[in-house]
Amino acid sequence: MFMKRLQRYLSFSYLTGALFLVFVLLFLWIGFGQLVADYETKSLEQRSASVERQCNVLANRVVEGGFASYTMGSKEETEGSRIEETTQLANDLGGRVLIIDSHFKILTDTYNRNCGKYLVTSETVNALKGDPVPYRKIGENYIQVITRINDEKSGEPIGLILAAASLYDRNSLLGHLRVQRATLTGIFFLITAVISLLIIVIMLRNFQRMQIQLNSIAAGHQERGLSRGGFREFYRMSGAINRILNRYSELENSRQEFVSNVSHELKTPLTSMKILADSLIGQQGVPEELYQEFIVDISNETVRANQIIQDLLYLVKMDGTNQAAMNVKPTNINELLEVLLKRISPIAAKRDITIHLETIREVVAEVDEVKLALACNNLIENAVKYNKDGGRVDVSLNADHKFFYIRIKDTGCGIPEDSQQQIFERFYRVDKARSRETGGTGLGLAITRKVLLMHKGSIKVHSQEGNGSTFIVRVPLNYIE
């Protein structure tokens, strides 16, 4: 369970980041490999230089003491007195030292093999000529360094020291470095492989799971939705898809509700009509006044039904309509309101309801006049309809540089708090029982809200049961596509 929650905060980007890091480290390793390769040559150079330094010390000693003291294998007592120094040097170098005179004769060989022989190779020839002879490896374990013994006065070469020095230390370090590098390679590749596999496997699994669920939804089982889990990307994706599904199921529900509402609302007047007609049909010798009365009632019901149908059609038309159907042009809102209030005043007067219009400024806005008039009219009609006798309706108009505001306040019965969000729904009545008495289609506020939405405006309601309601409408001055 914890893992699942943890996964939610993990994004594939982290894993990919980790993978990227590994690649970076891999490149660093390649650089390290270069260092190792570099060490291979540098260490030889360094060793060669060190050996040459030590041989130069011996070379000076030879010049000072004379070749005779360093000659091995001689039976003369005077010779070879300083051979110890040569063997000591060979010991220090972990290898072998040969001393050669200007005629190529090997005077000393610490391996005691080639004393007295003549070593005439291009290396010794060039060295005795004074040309530089670079170091070279002998097999894998030794490095040969040739050092000249130069005459004190003339500086000319009078002999050579050939040193074969051990590369044991350098080789073991090199071996160690190579092992390190190989180990690091192994580790990096392993990590990279593991992470890559992990990413692939997890992604595949997530995709598969999502696919299966999507398939089932597509087949029609859309109530199930997608399971939430997996990495962040999938978590968000499934969340979004679930919201889309919810919207559609809401739409579906509202459609069903709408259809049932429509049939219900239409059924009422039709049923009344049938009852009235049936009662007329059933009777005989009905007085003319009764006929008249019933027919009038039937006519009223048809008007009612017609109104419902008209409003519905209007609403449906606005639902499916695109913005091109909006007939937007600059309109004087003050005038619009004045016309509406004038139209309603007789009806208001009948119940002694006073209407006040307060215009703080002149407002001209880009609106669809017909639609906005209808929207405001519905609000004003409601303000009168749900008012108490002798009450009042206050309409005010204001604007800032972005929006204009219409406030419609009544002193009516108010709207209970838990219904305040629902009043804009189609066919919603706070008190269903009084529906017939109050009249109307139940679609007024739905139409009003739809119109305002099309203008990118908004509507708010403040109401207290028993005290009255205030509707505040806000519409942008300039029409936004």
Partner: protein, 320 residues
């Protein structure tokens, strides 16, 4: 399809014949006479062996004179690859006595720089030594012995005296006669085995001797009727060796602590000691284990002392 395969096979056969022919041709060319004159290469630092047909094959003295004459002929032999070895030096006389040729030069020889002298001497001696009857060559200067840098006479020079670049053995390789001591089948005694060991790349002989003891000689090489087994642990390694003042210092790895199954401790140790003592400058051997001296190793006391050759354990080899 079949035609193609046939054609390919024929082509390959032809190629093979051609290559074989070349190889044969090369061999015969080097076998015929094979006499070469050693000229100095144009770079001045090595020798160019130029094939040459001797006119005086049978007469040694005349041949030697001919050789020196040819080697001095700068007109005929000056080319891009090589030049005459000897120039401006006159030959006094040539003597041949019991395998040794003595060549006497005149004054001019002493004026040669030591570098040139060394190179020329090598060229002449290597050329002359190719003659059948010649075993050694001695130089003299106006009748007096040729002296080296230290003032001692140079003396007779033979094939062993020179190490050149094209030799099979160079200064870092070599061969040595040695007696390797292997363990007998019961692991109680040592059996001697006379052989040569080859070293290359500057590997010390001592190290090679011990490493050779790890493998028994093959059946046909065996000089004794008894079976020889290796007295050493197969994982034993020699870390380092050194020879100082006739003492051979041997540093072994820790495998020496493990007994060899079927071989007595003494036999293992003295196999190494006696084999090493058979190499010329070595009289005594000192062992260390991974750089440290050990006073006791299993049952052997004084493992850190100097060991000398002990032939008590050696059986008398039954000659095949």
């Amino acid at each position: 399809m079949r035609n193609r395969i046939l054609w390919m096979v024929c082509l390959q056969l032809a190629l093979l014949c051609f290559l074989a022919g070349c190889a044969v041709h090369e061999d015969t060319e080097s076998d015929s006479g094979g006499f070469c004159l050693y000229f100095i290469s144009s770079t001045g630092d090595s020798y160019e062996k130029v094939p040459y047909e001797l006119k005086n094959k049978d007469d040694t003295l005349a041949a030697v004179t001919e050789i020196i004459h040819e080697l001095s002929d700068s007109e005929q032999f000056n080319t891009d690859q090589y030049k005459a070895a000897l120039q401006g030096v006159g030959l006094d006389s040539v003597e041949f006595d019991e395998g040794n040729v003595t060549i006497d030069f005149e004054e001019g020889y002493s004026k040669l720089s030591s570098l040139n002298e060394g190179m020329i001497r090598t060229a002449i001696v290597k050329s002359v030594l190719q003659l059948d009857k010649v075993e050694s060559v001695t130089f003299s200067l106006n009748g007096a012995s040729l002296l080296d840098q230290e003032g001692a006479p140079v003396g007779p020079m033979n094939d062993q005296s020179f190490i050149l670049e094209d030799d099979e053995e160079d200064v870092y390789s070599g061969q040595q006669d040695v007696v390797l001591y292997y363990a007998n089948e019961e692991g109680t005694q040592l059996i001697p085995y006379h052989t040569k060991i080859n070293s290359k790349d500057n590997e010390p002989f001592e190290k090679i001797v011990i490493e050779s003891l790890l493998k028994e000689p093959s059946a046909q090489d065996s000089q004794s009727e008894e079976k020889m087994i290796s007295p050493l642990n197969e994982d034993l390694k020699v870390n380092q060796t050194q020879v100082l003042n006739n003492i051979c210092y041997v540093d072994l790895n820790e495998e020496i602590e493990n007994l060899v199954p079927g071989v007595k401790e003494e036999v293992t140790i003295y196999a190494m000691v006696d084999s090493l003592a058979s190499i010329n400058p070595i009289y005594q051997i000192q062992f260390t284990v991974n750089g440290e001296k050990r006073s006791t190793l299993n049952n052997v006391k004084n493992f850190d002392s100097l060991f000398s050759a002990n032939l008590v354990l050696v059986t008398k080899p039954a000659k095949k």
